[in-house]
């Protein structure tokens, strides 16, 4: 019941080689002060051998509703997409999984090249110039964007749309307080950032404007009009993306003048995993490369004249620059970046476009079907991608409870974070939903509302 290979006899011999008799002697030799030595065993459950533990874990896992057995229309920042079998088979190869950050490039070319490919793909889908090797998640990627914009300024202001994911805003607030910058929220109009609010909020102190697109309600923002306003000032235009599948069909941030793209990559090849590990995406225009947070892989030449890959521009990073680093990040989400690389290769140029189109079409089909149910209307009248808000005839909580009885996980209850939207639900529909799936949601809603009358 241990992953320690050496037997007691071997450890005894090793202790003798070290010059002590017992482990206790060795611990004494390390000078841990007696008064802080733990005097009793840790109060933890006793060890479980592998088979017993597997049973236990299977039991715990089956207390959760998994999407193989529940039909779900939850999105709101995490999205269920079709995961081709080939993806986990490749990224889970032990050579990748059990390696550390590629500090020794000669024996890490595999991971390094994969990340170089990842950086390229993120540039390709966002049309930005450079992307880093990943950050923790979407929310912290947005924080890093704000920090990049703030730079060394001792004060500064960041404007953020209220249609940015509430969890991201909460995270931003925490960091803004700690790092010391002002965060102001931009009001909404008909489910998107109010241009008027933006215009009046912009000041010379504004370092960044953060807009989620598609936004938390699934609506498309007026990204080009916003760009015009933002770039009248020196503020950086930060586009936050929580559903990068949208880039299959939507104009890319690079096309409409974004300075930074910060987002969540879970959608592209990683499991939902109850929200983590996630994958922070970060891409910028060329001129911000040396202010980038996080790792960067670059191509170079070896002493035999061959091409190869290395971690580069490390002088931005904490292990060199310490308190003057561009960010404190060290461990990132490399394996998920690899998963995304394999996933995007598997979908490819055509498949990624189709992904976007199918999400778009299916969500629109669902929105039409749902809003045709008596009592249901679209909350906004806005272009959207694969998520849309609906005004329901009953509280979302009640509807969702009834749906659960039918093994359906309904939409996100918007009133949780936006009290102004009572009885409002946010439905996400992706290529993973079949028509039958959508129709059975519709039927269930009809049924629930019908019997509630």
């Amino acid at each position: 019941m241990s992953y320690v290979p050496n037997t007691t006899a071997e450890q005894q011999a090793m202790l003798r080689a070290v010059g002590v008799e017992t482990i206790e002697d060795l611990l004494t030799a390390t000078s841990i002060p007696e008064q802080v030595r733990l005097k009793h065993p840790l109060a933890l459950p006793p060890a479980l051998p592998e088979p017993n533990l597997k049973r236990l874990m299977l039991g715990i896992s089956e207390k959760n509703a998994d999407l193989d057995h529940y039909l779900s229309f939850l999105g709101a920042g995490s999205y269920d997409h079709i995961l081709p079998s080939v993806v986990p088979h490749l990224y889970k190869r032990a050579e990748f999984v059990t390696s550390y950050t590629p500090y020794q490039p000669e024996i890490s070319q595999g991971m390094l090249q994969a990340i170089y490919e990842f950086q390229t793909m993120i540039c390709q889908i966002t049309n930005m110039d450079t992307a880093n090797a990943s950050l923790y998640d979407g929310s912290t990627a947005v924080v890093e964007a704000a920090l990049l914009a703030i730079g060394t300024a001792t004060n500064g202001e960041v404007l953020v749309s209220r249609a940015l994911d509430p969890q991201y805003r909460a995270t931003l607030r925490t960091y803004a307080w700690a790092r010391g910058f002002t965060l102001r929220e931009l009001e909404l109009e008909q489910g998107v950032t109010s241009l008027a609010a933006l215009e009046s909020a912009l000041t010379p102190e504004t370092k960044a404007v953060i807009i989620q697109h598609p936004n938390f309600f699934g609506n498309l923002e007026e990204v080009r009009a916003i760009e015009q306003l933002v770039h009248r000032t020196n503020a950086l235009y930060v586009i936050a993306i929580t559903e990068p599948a949208s880039l299959g069909v939507l104009a890319a941030p690079g096309d409409y003048g974004a300075d930074i793209v910060a987002g969540e990559g879970q959608s592209l090849g990683s499991p939902l995993g109850y929200g983590g590990p996630a994958l922070g995406l970060f891409a910028t225009k060329q001129n911000f490369v040396r202010r980038m947070p996080g790792r960067l892989v670059g191509k170079t030449i070896d002493d035999r004249g061959q091409e190869g890959y290395v971690l580069t521009l490390q002088t931005r990073e904490q292990h060199i620059k310490r308190e003057r680093a561009t960010s404190n990040i060290c461990t990132n989400q490399a394996l998920l970046a690899l998963a995304t690389t394999v996933y995007l290769a598997a979908l490819g140029k055509q498949g990624f476009r189709e992904l976007g189109e199918q999400c778009l079409r299916k969500a629109h089909y669902a929105s039409e079907r749902i809003s045709a149910i008596p009592g249901f209307t679209m909350l906004f009248n806005r272009p959207f991608f694969d998520e849309f808000a609906v005004s329901a005839p009953l509280p979302a909580e009640q509807l969702n409870a009834e749906l659960r009885e039918r093994a359906i996980i309904g939409g996100y209850d918007l009133s949780r974070e936006y009290p102004e939207f009572e009885n409002a639900m946010l439905f996400a529909v992706t290529e993973a939903h079949t028509r039958e799936d959508i129709d059975s949601l519709v039927a269930a809603l009809e049924d629930i509302v019908g019997s509630a009358e």
Binding site: M1, S2, Q11, L27, A29, T30, I32, V36, L42, L53, K63, D66, G77, S78, L90, R93, A94, V97, T98, Y100, T101, Q104, Y116, Q119, T120, M121, Q124, D129, A133, L147, G180, V249, A251, P271, Y274, G275, A278, N287, V289, L296, K299, T300, I301, D302, Q314, R322, A325, S327, N328, I329, T331, A345, G348, Q350, G351, R353, Q358, L360, A401, I438
Partner: protein, 503 residues
């Protein structure tokens, strides 16, 4: 095998691998769904490759990568121990991997239970009161912990405290995190025994009286040495009104032996991807939970998992009004936490202690076996790792870097080099507990051979490696002319006029 083309250089127009289901709803023109200016003009120029090409490409890449499953990986500070396959299987269970974070509590009882229990286990191991599982890695834990300290001081009306003390051997994330939290850092010198120089500490405390926010420490520190004066240090910092932050990256040395909470620390972060053996995945994901003493609990980011005994249900408790808020979306790197939970349950209390004891033994074994061949700047019994200096080899113009590169030819991963910064030509060796005595002996043999070579054939060491798929790479070129993405013919030009690839 000696080069592998980029995936972009493979394939052909029209090729594809994964296929989506056929559209089963009425097809309508995209333009009828979205205004034209929202639509993408050109598809992203992603690769066009078939499934077999993808499989071979990434299989080849994997063959160009070294992991723990292939050999010894004594990378100091990183705790590259064996990653149990069991943990991988548990994390892949559909009831963990296929669960949406916003599912109703009634549908996620298992997940909340697991997190609730994991919190308790980590609290017990560290001797802290409560734990947040949100942070995604060690550095994320650090900034979280420092924010807790900041909130605490502010709450007490001592928001002016702006100094964080950091020993000179500290990991780079410590000062970086302190800066990010809006603090000024002051470096503490180490003493001759490798611990914090208590006199210097006193001086600094005096110099910044009233302004000390915290001391960040790793203990055992980055030299692998346990700070003998920890109790005294804690006492003095507390007396100065500061908080004690414990960088738990080295917790693999202390499980069941000693606890930061008992040493006097107020905040602790874990590196579960080190201590609890979740794999590093080529650089992540990790998990960096943060534990706090009682007086800091209210400030924790939330929500925290909770249990209602009466109804036997788990739920997410609402945040305390004093909470700093969130440090990320959702509950943390959940699937990493599942692995850590599995690991702790597998080992149990005795097993965890055995882990730490064995890690300490393995380190001392290697250190003692090699100390005649390499300089040992601090000659004390070490904890789970230790630091040699290649100063002696340097006399023959053989540097720590050369030794590392030469080790590649022996099929092992080299130690961490040039860290901690306080040891010149540092070679930081962490064998971990999961290595066999034979492996350690083989490594000792390699290191001895390289020590000999450094005298007899230094050029051989300087020119290493010989057996890797690429040789030493030109880092200067990489940094001077950054080539950070492929921009071959298939890439459409970025909209911005700035060239996308400088070459």
């Amino acid at each position: 095998m000696s080069t592998e083309q980029l995936i972009f250089e493979k394939g052909a127009p029209g090729r594809r691998a994964a296929t989506l289901p056929e559209l089963d709803i009425p097809l309508r023109p995209l333009e009828s769904l979205l205004p034209a200016d929202h639509l993408r003009a050109e598809p992203a120029p992603l690769p066009e490759v078939s499934e077999i090409e993808i499989v071979r490409h990434f299989t080849h890449l994997s063959q160009r990568n070294f992991g723990v499953d292939m050999g010894f990986y004594p990378l100091g500070s990183c705790t590259m121990k064996y990653n149990p396959k069991l943990n991988e299987d548990m994390a892949a269970l559909p009831g963990f991997a296929r669960v949406h974070p916003l599912e109703h509590e009634s549908l996620t009882q298992g997940a909340i239970q697991l997190l609730f229990e994991l919190e308790q286990y980590l609290a017990e191991i560290s001797g802290m009161k409560r734990i947040t599982l949100q942070p995604a890695a060690g550095a994320h834990g650090e900034i979280t912990g420092l924010m807790l300290i900041k909130a605490y001081h502010e709450h007490r009306g001592e928001g002016h405290r702006n100094i964080v003390l950091i020993p000179d051997g500290a990991h780079g994330t410590n000062p970086a995190s302190a800066a990010l939290a809006g603090y000024k850092t002051v470096e503490l010198r180490s003493d001759a025994r490798g611990g914090v120089d208590v006199h210097h500490l006193e001086e600094v405390l005096a110099a910044h009286e009233g302004n000390i926010a915290a001391l960040m420490m790793t203990n055992p520190n980055t030299l692998g040495l346990f700070d003998e004066h920890i109790v005294e240090i804690a006492e003095r910092v507390h007396r100065a009104g500061g908080q004690l932050y414990y960088d738990g990256a080295n917790a693999n040395a202390i499980m069941g032996i000693t606890r930061p909470g008992d040493m006097g620390f107020d905040v602790v972060h874990f590196n579960l991807h080190k201590t609890c053996s979740t794999p590093h995945g080529g650089g992540g994901p990790g998990a960096g939970p943060v534990g706090v003493a009682e007086h800091l609990v209210s400030f924790l980011p939330g929500p925290l998992p909770a249990y209602d005994a009466e109804s036997d249900t788990y739920y997410w408790a609402e945040n305390d009004p004093l909470s700093i808020g969130r440090v990320r979306a959702n509950c943390g790197n959940f699937l990493v936490l599942v692995r850590a939970y599995t690991y702790i349950r597998f080992n149990g209390p005795d097993g965890l202690r055995h882990v730490s004891e064995s890690a300490i033994l393995n380190a001392n074994y290697v250190m003692r076996a090699l100390q005649d061949a390499y300089d040992l700047p601090f000659d004390r019994a070490c904890m789970h790792e230790f630091v040699f200096s290649a100063n002696r080899q340097k006399r023959n113009d053989v540097h720590a870097l050369d030794i590392a590169k030469r080790l590649l030819d022996f099929g092992v991963h080299p130690p961490t080099i040039y860290f901690p910064l306080i040891v010149p030509e540092a070679l930081m060796i962490e064998p971990t507990e999961t290595e066999t005595r034979e492996t350690l002996d083989e490594f000792i043999g390699m290191m001895r051979q390289i020590a000999r070579e450094s005298i007899d054939e230094p050029e051989k060491v300087r020119q290493a490696p010989y057996t890797t798929v690429v040789g030493r790479l030109d880092q200067t070129l990489a940094a001077r002319k950054p080539d950070l993405r492929w921009a071959g013919s298939a890439v459409s030009q970025p909209a911005s006029p700035i060239p996308s690839r400088v070459r």
